[in-house]
Each structure stands twice: as structure tokens, then as C-alpha cells.
Amino acid sequence: MSAISGKTIAEKIFSAHSGTDAHAGDIVVADVDFVMGQDGTSPLAIRALENMGVDEVFDPEKVAVVMDHSSPSPIEGVSALHTIMREFGKKTGAKVYDVGEGVCHQLIPEKGHVVPGDLMVGCDSHTCTYGALNVFSTGVGSTDGAAAMASGKLWFKVPDSVKVTYNGELKPGVFSKDLILYLAGQIGADGATYEAIEFHGPVIDELSVEARMTISNMAIEVGAKAGLMKADAKTLEWFEGRGEKTPAPQAPDADATYIRELTFDASTIGPQVAKPHAVDNVSPIEEVEGTPIAEGVLGTCTNGRLEDFAIAASILKGRKVHPDVRFIVAPASRKILLDAIEAGYVQTLVEAGAALVTPGCGPCVGTHNGVPSTGENVISTANRNFKGRMGNSDAFIYLGSPATVAASVIEGKITDPRKYFEGGQA
């Protein structure tokens, strides 16, 4: 690639963190600003550190372990893993987020551990979430995570970037979740493997920071290494009061080189649903309307934020969850739970019949909090619907927006939420 062409967000962040003039395809050793693991992956990373003979981390302020996937522990084996994490925190000084704090991908930005322009790795594939905040964040395995915890560095291949632009405007009842599900349906589960996606366009600009995080969260579902966005005034405002780090946003150059460019008109996109058992098995909601459901899930690192609670509450206000449906609600963090209580959303949802569970991953990964029964259909705001994902390989998981889930749990079947938004609001 020519050295005179401009740079993408990914190339700029890797240049700044490796001290090189980094371009797509280069292999660089880069300084990471933060390293994170969760309760499924941290124990393996901690064991790898022990095997390396390393008994400290490169900077305790820049390492955190989060108990979110199976939290509080549903089984003795997990309790032992949690103990390993707590002891690691005591030994190294790394930050431990214990039971009830929330999902790692909400906590890391919420607590100000990363700011725009940062580079971070997490031992969880949805670490790409913070791309919405102009952080190059990507998922790694426990061995790579351990290497980064020990040294503060990791080698990377600087990815090519794909530019995805959403023009037009979102129609009432259509949300950022629908935009990313639509993209998955268009380009497939390996549509951007090893590449970074940059999301652009007036629709992205209009979205709240929370709604943007939903999009970047699912970049991995098309194979991408990161799902990046520019930092704008909204992004910088979001970080105010969250920590002491100074943002150093990286914007792409006007003449940056993209390996592909995709442009969509959001005005023509309606609610989307991913059908079992693949995230790219997407269709417009009209094709699955009426499918009976036994369980609904609002939450996860994809859609467990305050805005998602507001959307669901606006639909469920004064209504009831269908008697044949379990509606499980998991706030993404303790702060979101408190904010949702204060705003009255928790009251609304629980009165409607929701079962509120501990801030964290909820039933998404199939270890606790609502494993579906054999043959049951689930409608969820999560990011994955693989066979067995929620703990039963004979259940069927559909993915949609918080509005689609809320509308569906009322009727006991997959329901187009747009009827609640006619006239511009629910």
C-alpha cells in the first residue's frame, strides 16, 4: 500500500501505539492501553501467566477481570473459577469486577478504563463493542490475553478496513440492532474476516452512543476484528466524568484506502430478525411474524443499556407479558440498573411481568438465568443464536431489537414492533 495515501482509523491507532507508520498488512508490536478477561476466559489466562512464571501484571491499573458470564455462580465449578479471579486480583492488584457489577463490555468503557483513540484487547469476542467509542478493541484468546497482561504489548496484523455507510434515516420502530442484523444478512458470518469495519453516514451520526455500541458489538458476527466509528461531540460528552484519561480521538483521513465500500439506505430497512441457528440467517420481520415464543430476553452486551430499557418500557407500559412467555431482563451494569430504577423502567417492566436478573450476561451464554426447554423458541436482544448457545441444543433462538422483543413478549409470538411507533412514539 502506498505510503502517501491517507489512513483509516485502524491504521492511525496502530501507528500511534506501535511508533511506526502502520499500514494495512503490516505486522506491528503495539502497546495496549487495557487488557480484560471474563469468568469464562480469565482462569485460562491466569493459568498461562502462572505457567510463564509471571506473578505480576504490567500495570494493575490497566488490567481487569469481570465475573459476568455465570454470575452469581450457578455451580461449584464456576465458584472455583471465580475464586481464582479474586485471588489473582489480590495478588496482582488488577481490578476485579465481582458479582452484580455487570457485563464486561459495559463496565470497561463505563468506568473510563478506555477512551477514544485507545487500543485494547479482551479475552472475549465481543470486545469489539468499544469500536463505537473510537477505541480499537478486539477479542483475543486467553494465551494472547496473558501475554498482554504480562507485557502490555501484543503483536497485531494491521487490518484492511471496510467502509460501511448508512444513508437516509431510521424509520419509527427501527433501531441500530436492525441495521447490524441487516448487514450480517447481507455479507454473511465471514463477510469481513480479519478486516476492520468503519461505520459512517448520517444515520450513525444521529444515533446515541449507546445505540452505536450495539452495532460495533456485533462486528465480530461478520468476522471483523473491530467495528470502528469516529468520535464526535456525543462520544466525548459520554466520557465526561467517567475517568481521568484524556481522549485522543483518531479520525480517518479523507483519502484513506478501504478494501471495500458498502452503502445502505436505512430508510428502506425495517425490523430484522436473525433466525436459528446463525446470526447471518436474517430476514425482514414480516417473514417470521407469528412464530410462537416461550421466552424473551432483554439485555446482554448488545442491548442491555438504559436506552434499550426505555424502548422496552415504552412498549410494555400498562401492558402485560403473555402468560405463556417468560420475559427475562438483565441490565448490562449496576449503574444501568440504578438508572433504570430511577427512570421507572424497572417498575414498568416488572409490573408487566418481567423477571429481573443480576446485572451481567443474563441467559445469553447458556450457563444460568433461563435455559430454554427442548423445542422452545426464544426471542432475544443478544448477539448470538448458535445451536446450544442458551444451554439447550434443541431450542431455537431468534435475535431482534429491544422493541421487537418487547412487542413479541406481549403477544407470545414474534411481532412487528412498528405498530407501537405509529405517530412517532410508542
Binding site: 505457567n51 469476542s125 494465551t143 494472547d144 496473558a146 465471514d190 465480530i220 446450544g388 441444543s393
Partner: protein, 164 residues
């Protein structure tokens, strides 16, 4: 490095949730993880696996979660090498880091059927389907990858370097 075994062939987008479901991640003992390898996709997988057998799959093998338990469970179940048309990014790195040999060879995948007997010379990048007599080429392991795999993973390889 040479591998020889019976092929178990699967489709595209084999995700980490079917390779090792999260409900079994309450342990990190390789032998325990191996017991549930591929269970949600093919309940008979562990029973039919012979040590040294070969996994063959279409595109995007290992998509989904970053759980390193996935390559660990496959390796511990006795798989000697995975040949696929392509691998998901995180799985690719995790496999090498945990010492599980993987090869991208689209033509070989098209030419190999479930139950075939296959011999792989990873250093030369040659895959021979003994059942059909066809030979395919793949990218040989670069020396550093070979070193990591022979030592059983990145951690062991790095420890060896430190001792030297």
C-alpha cells in the same frame, strides 16, 4: 510434522458454541473439555474419534467466541490437524497458541469426503487423500508456527526460549 488419520467432515461456520458449549466451561481441564467436544453438532463425535483423526470443514471454522477451550477440547479429543477452507480470526490464533495444527486448503476440502483416510505433511504442505489417491497442496507451516506446535503451544515455546 506428519499426520495420518480418518476424516470427520463438517460444513461451514462451525462455531465455538457447538465446539464446546459454554455450559461446560466450568472447568479448564483439557480431558474434561474433550468429553463434550462438538456435542451439540454431532453427539457421536467423541465416541467415533480415534487418536490422530483429522477434522475437515468448509469456510469460517471456529467463528464466534474467543474461548480458547475450543481448540483445547478439539486437541484433547485426539484431533491431529484441522483442514478447512478458512478459519475465523480469533480461533486461528488460539489454535496455534494452544498447539493445535490447522491448515487452510480449499481444494483439499472439496476433494476429501467424510470417512476418507488422509496423510498430511505439514512441513512440505502436502495433503494426500489415501482413499482417492489425490494430492493437494497447502501453505506449509512457517518455522515459528512449527516450533510453537511442536512444543505444545505458545507458553511452552516461550518458556523454552527463556531457558535457552
Amino acid at each position: 510434522m506428519k499426520f495420518h488419520g480418518t476424516v470427520h467432515k463438517y460444513g461451514r461456520d462451525i462455531d465455538t458454541d457447538v465446539i464446546i458449549p459454554a455450559r461446560y466451561l466450568n472447568t479448564s481441564i483439557p480431558e474434561e473439555l474433550a468429553k463434550h467436544c462438538m456435542e451439540d453438532l454431532d453427539a457421536g463425535f467423541v465416541a467415533k474419534m480415534q487418536f490422530g483423526d483429522i477434522l475437515v470443514a468448509e469456510e469460517n471454522f471456529g467463528c464466534g467466541s474467543s474461548r480458547e477451550h475450543a481448540p483445547i477440547s478439539i486437541k484433547s479429543a485426539g484431533v491431529s490437524v484441522i483442514i478447512a477452507k478458512s478459519f475465523a480470526r480469533i480461533f486461528y490464533r488460539n489454535a496455534i497458541n494452544t498447539g493445535l495444527p490447522i491448515m487452510e486448503a480449499p481444494e483439499a476440502v472439496d476433494g476429501i469426503s467424510d470417512g476418507d483416510t488422509v496423510t498430511v505433511d505439514a512441513d512440505a504442505g502436502i495433503i494426500v487423500n489415501e482413499t482417492t489417491g489425490e494430492t493437494y497442496t497447502a501453505q506449509p507451516f512457517p518455522p515459528f508456527v512449527k516450533d510453537i506446535i511442536e512444543k505444545g503451544g505458545l507458553i511452552e515455546a516461550v518458556k523454552g526460549k527463556v531457558r535457552e
